[in-house]
Amino acid sequence: MPRRDDLHTILLIGSGPIVIGQACEFDYSGTQACRVLRDEGYRVVLANSNPATIMTDPDFADATYIEPLDVEVLERIIEREKPDALLPTLGGQTALNLAMELAESGVLERHGVEMIGADATAIATAEDRELFKRAMAEIGLDAPPSATAHTVDDAVAVAERIGLPVVIRPAYILGGRGTGIASELDEFRRKAAIGLEASPISEILVEKSIAGWKEYELEVMRDHADNCVIVCSIENLDPMGVHTGDSITVAPAQTLSDVEYQAMRDAAFACIRRVGVETGGSNVQFAVNPVDGHMVVIEMNPRVSRSSALASKATGFPIAKIAARLAVGYTLDEIPNDITKKTPASFEPSIDYVVTKIPRWAFEKFPGTPDVLGTQMQSVGEVMAIGRTFPESLQKGLRSLEQGRLGLNCDPGEAQYDEIPLDELARRAGIGTPERIFQLEACLRRGMSVDEVYAATWVDPWFLDQMLAITEERAHLAEVGFEALGRAGWRRAKRLGFSDAQLAHLWGVAEADVRAARKAHGVVPTYKTVDTCAAEFEAATPYHYSTYEDTDEVVASDRQKVVILGSGPNRIGQGIEFDYCCVHASFALRDAGYETIMVNCNPETVSTDYDTSDRLYFEPLTHEDVMNVIEAENPVGVIVSLGGQTPLKLAEALPPGLVVGTPPASIDAAEDRERWSALCARLEIPQPAGGTAADIDVARAIVDRIGYPALVRPSYVLGGRAMVIVYDDEGLTAAMAEMSTFGSLGKEGGLSAERPVLVDRFLEDATEVDCDALRDADGGFMIGGIMEHVEEAGVHSGDSACVLPPHTLSVETISVLTDYTHRIADALGVIGLINVQYAVKSGQVFVIEANPRASRTVPFVAKATGVPLAKIASRLMLGATLAELRTEGLVRNPATGDHHSVKEAVLPFSRFPEADAVLGPEMRSTGEVMGIDLTVGLAFAKAQLAAGTRLPSSGTVFLSLADRDKDLGLRAARHFRNLGFRLAATRGTAAHLRANGIEVGVDVAKIGQPDGQDAVQLIESGEVDLVINSPRGRGPRGDGAHIRAAAGTHKVPLLTTAAAGLAAADGMADRARHRLQVRPLQEYLRGVGRDQLEPAEQPTLPDLA
């Protein structure tokens, strides 16, 4: 049956900000869906609050709403756009839950919107754990014994009935939020309470634990003619008990016989049919008892999931694209296979390689959080690697992680496991942690048998034996030695995935020599193709991976080629924003007639969609692997400045002249503290006083000169890694110790003359400003955007909210900033993008740092101004000038109109309850949202809502502020009173407010003191609607930390700076006075005047001067 003609406008909901458990895989699926639906001639309306996504580019949808993903907002969008249908299955859990709310609150019915893909009943059946279990029982599929509970007491009753250990699983959650395994009763009580909090309908499933069983996932597609296919089977290396998102997973499944696999396939089909997902992709998870093969169903996701993205990249079968087509009426056999073009999509991919996915975590950023993996997902990113065999793909994956590891051990990093006693090492390997995979190899290398390791860890013996093969080969290589190794030996080593760097370490020779010797023996990589059919049919899609086989399938073209190096796995400080830049470069350069070649290893991204570039190499971003691609393709240029630090680190080792854009030397000049300071001095641009120190004495000497407070940090890091503000010698000593080899940074290299610590005067109460600009080879210059931060300097630029255009900076300040930026760009000979950060303190402008590369803010600026910075930059790097691009039309003037754009960061504290939810100079946000409106206040309020902070319209505001914040706090408090809020405050704050004539209703006692209600009790009592608490700076976990923790657990909106408090007050005031309006980005970019504001339905409040 062809496409449905009764539909015209389709509403697509995106997944919002990047959070743990929901990353850019949904930009990938959403972008594909937008493309497909428009190709099919539908009018596409998109709602997504995340400005860093490709899907929110104005030309991917007919109307793009960068608005909060919230029912009220969505209803406004529906009122305006009158869509015929809502497609909820491509925007992750966020879109699914919103669709449910829209359905239940009657909005869809009221506006005659049909839900396509999956209907409300299907979603409920899959998401409600109890309904799901019953449904599975009906169709004769087993699940672990369990029952649901709505209070801790029923939960305990259940647990006692089915017997501990049990796993707690809340309904309607994402990435395992609030889940956990408990073996003792008190532990269980605690975790059950957390689980009930986590579930939006406070319902948990208490289930028998089957930790240790084998875990599998099947990706299923179904069309409305009831044709079903399995796209991919995935087997977890980490057994049950570690969330799939935190597990090393392998495709296709490796240890299932056909009899078992087909039974699982039948079960998956029965499951999707019973749940009633009419069309599209779903993912069904199973567990298998390794002892007797008993199979149980774990869960089903009635939507495109992170695993679907992985499955698409792993097989070449574009699940999201096809799901979108199925949703509008096509059947699988009517859709051609994208890759073969000749055969239909109604088939099951067969693959002739092994895919390994390895997660990446960020525990080091959340002190106090144990790096133990469980049923709750904690990873912030992942890599995927393709090899012909599991050992090859595992080792490629491990070196793709960019954590200093060169593969499965056989590198300097392995030393740490050799110190630990073997039995202790085996015990540790029994617990899921980021280290487990390396510990497993170490156990085998140190003489444990596969069976012994299996007994200790439940990791399947087949996987262990494959690792043992690597270990044995290593011993063999060591024995034969570098000189004596023959061609066959080299080939065998490379076929097992050993990197040149690992071999160099093994033999104690230089990597360059290893590479040379290997090539001398004629052992070079061959590139094979991902084709969905194991070579049975000819493939039309240039999607390649390296391996060491006989023949190469890449036919090099003679066109002008540009290699774009991607940004690797998502991590805090380097995420989707950089993938956005790489993708834009590819688009722009394709349009300009170049052949674009993408190299990346992150399966979640749009850049690794084989549709994005002319050619995709799914490869680790290491010197060896990148050089191999360059040698195979010989491009005219390589772009290294759009993918964050990852490609930059590779830059200087690349053949000179090949790197286009800003010369690597300039990049280094900006990173190297001494040279950078010299440059600022020469340009007479003020910097905060400071210096560099490799030991505590030098550091003290510097502080004697510049005074406290001081900011201490390692050089050459991203996202303010390990950056701390110190207020006294004690703090300084602690900070230096942390950064020396003994601290957590020790793993990352420790201190040395080349990697000293930077000690700067910390500018208190300074306004921070971000500035993005473009410069061409002829010195043409253009400001992209100037962003004024809401939080004062000291909160990492990546974690603070910012406003574009600046709302308080004077015209003079702005012209100074512009001039400084221009001069710095000239001095560094920038060709392309540069980002400069400033701190403005009482009118004076200090430069904090310059990054002569694409920065995190590029997509936000592009969305706010309509100027495609990354596209322009990529053209400049290849020689075009701003003038030329202006005539070409690529360079436009920033959108006029009165709209303000606010970027707000989204932080993962809810996942790390042990960590203090306070902002600082070390970046910890995983994602960002954008709010656009006609006043700064309205835009800020939208940004807060989009970030999940629903500012109250009435009730009680609780203030507890550091002394230096009390004046800002005063202004905020005044607003709140005018808005009719009651105020509660801790002693000092209360006194200060009263002294200034502001009424404080509730006095809050210090924690633990008998007199009156203390802060935590107050928050628990549910009488507080907004908490504003700014840290005192010094001291360990004081009251402040407890206040913030309490707000976190009880989901009370929390702001941790007075500045944000004031902005919120403004926002709440503006919200009270105006009607909520939504507008597509396209309209803002055409220019909307302030006169478009509509007053609120209710009478307005007293004006706030």
């Binding site: 003619a225 016989s257 056909d258 087909q262 012909r388 063999h476």
Partner: protein, 371 residues
């Protein structure tokens, strides 16, 4: 991996050479020959290796890791493997499955099946895809010897391999279907029949498996409710006498044919068969059931197919391969007979087409009433 590796080579009829290591059984003089084909299934290597339809052939597995879950008697498709050899990229060093009792390499050695590992099977598959399946030789012998052997190897065209794989005496498998249901009686011609097919048939009938050359009269004398024509190896045009036998059955009794059985049925009906460039061998082929328009993912293993154009009037095409349009199913409009080219019994492969055995059951029911 380290240490004792026995280097071996694979040489194709057209002279192409591949390097690998010797696995499985040692072939006489270090030379194994046969027609080289590939199979793209991701699971089920044991069922494939023990499928008699592969008689005379060397099976290349495109899935790189083979042997991971070992071998169990439960999954044998016949009394022994009939294939000439196995080509893999990576043979598991250790099995992991509660079902298995032996690992694949030992099984191959015990069953006298030579194998070669470490081969760039993707290169080999693409070569066969482009040049067509061809004879080949592999082993530890020197290249010249292998080259000679490869050129001398006739391949399966025109070879009557059924005689080599069929049983020499009839045997009976009792009805194993739901109790309370009167068992039917089906005679199954063994052209190389798979255990899984017999298992499916015994779900609806007591099955007597008879040698390929059993005369029609003998079969009809047994008064069966239906006759089943099994899968089997080789070129349908080369098997002597079978179409004549089938001709003797048509109209007298309901007939159901699978794979070679389907081709022979077509031949008996007067249709022609031809050789496909590289055949269909895998577990992921989409087939459209024309009556309902639904798609089933099927297990396939055939080098020959029925020629569309040659079909006589009263025969209709019921199924088609969506990849290349090849005829996958037929049914007589005037006689109780039908066949499918693919493997509804799976073993290995998807279960999507199991309904065909019920159709056979229904056909027998209707015919019974008519009698």
């Amino acid at each position: 991996m380290s240490g004792e590796i026995r280097e071996a080579q694979l040489v194709l009829g057209d002279g192409t050479v591949f390097e690998g290591e010797a696995l499985g059984a040692d072939p006489p003089d270090g030379v194994a020959t046969g027609e080289v084909v590939f199979n793209t299934a991701l699971t089920g290597y044991q069922e494939i290796i023990t499928d008699p339809s592969y008689a005379g052939q060397i099976i290349t597995f495109t899935c790189p890791h083979i042997g991971n879950y070992g071998v169990t008697p439960l999954d044998d498709e016949s009394r022994r493997p009939f294939c000439r050899g196995v080509i893999v990229r990576e043979m598991a060093r250790r099995r992991s499955s509660w079902r298995a009792n032996v690992d694949l390499d030992s099984f191959l050695r015990a069953e006298g099946v030579p194998a070669i590992g470490g081969i760039d099977t993707r290169r080999l598959t693409r070569h066969i895809r482009d040049a067509g399946s061809m004879p080949g030789a592999f082993g530890t012998a020197d290249e010249a010897t292998l080259r000679a052997a490869a050129t001398a190897e006739p391949g399966t065209d025109g070879a009557d391999l059924v005689r080599r794989v069929t049983v020499d005496a009839p045997y009976t498998v009792e009805f194993a279907g739901p109790d309370g249901r009167p068992p039917r009686y089906v005679v199954a011609y063994d052209f190389g029949i798979k255990t899984t097919i017999v298992r499916h048939l015994s779900g609806i009938a007591t099955v007597e498996v008879v040698p390929a050359d059993t005369p029609a009269a003998d079969v009809l004398a047994r008064r069966p409710d239906g006759v089943f024509l099994s899968n089997g190896p080789g070129d349908p045009a080369a098997v002597e006498g079978l179409p004549a036998i089938i001709d003797g059955l048509l109209g007298e009794v309901p007939v159901f044919g699978i794979c070679l059985g389907h081709q022979l049925l077509a031949t008996a009906l007067g249709a022609a068969t031809y050789k496909l460039p590289f055949g269909h061998h895998g577990g992921n082929h989409p087939v459209k059931r024309l009556a309902t328009g639904t798609v089933e993912i099927t297990s396939q293993n055939h080098n020959f197919a029925v020629d569309d154009g040659s079909l006589p009037g009263p025969v209709e095409v019921t199924h088609r391969n969506l990849n290349d349009g090849v005829v996958e199913g037929l049914r007589c409009l005037d006689l109780p007979a039908f066949g499918v080219q693919y493997h509804p019994e799976a073993g290995p492969g998807p279960h999507d087409a199991a309904y065909l055995f019920d159709l056979f059951d229904d056909l027998m029911a209707d015919f019974g009433k008519g009698r």
